[in-house]
Symmetry: C2
Subunit: 85 residues, 2 copies
């Protein structure tokens, strides 16, 4: 068994209202930022997964997303398996 | 000017207590997940940046992190510039 590092990004599906992102975007001109648009806020998670290979680590991380970290009705999740420690 | 996609991951610095991550980790055995450890929760942001080149887009995104998205006392940020649209 090896230990893999997983990074999960959970983001709202396109079309789902994102008040946090909209609020950030509204604040930008007052801070002197121009040319930044389409701000979307989401969550990120990092954890270590014990698995036989990267495919098994990905399967565990994806199941974890679907069961606990993301709400699949309104959120997408993007799983990245980084390295074998 | 081109438009670049930026992804920012804001995470707690190592050593800073992460109650959200700890709570997720405690819930895992009851959901049937074993071998998942070191859960850390963070935030992710995606936005489009108008800039002359990728270096300028990265500079804008990094400044935005330091001024608005992250609290540099307790948080690290990781900026990725994805593509030229």
């Amino acid at each position: 068994m090896a230990v893999f590092s997983a990074v999960v990004e959970v983001r709202l599906r396109p079309g789902i209202a994102d008040p946090q992102g909209a609020t950030i975007e509204r604040a930008l001109p007052a801070l002197g930022f121009s040319g930044v648009t389409g701000v979307r806020a989401g969550k990120s998670f990092r954890f270590a997964v014990q698995a036989r290979d990267a495919a098994e680590a990905r399967a565990t991380a994806t199941a974890l997303c679907d069961r606990l970290l993301a709400n699949p009705v309104i959120e997408d999740s993007l799983v990245t398996i980084l390295t074998e420690d």
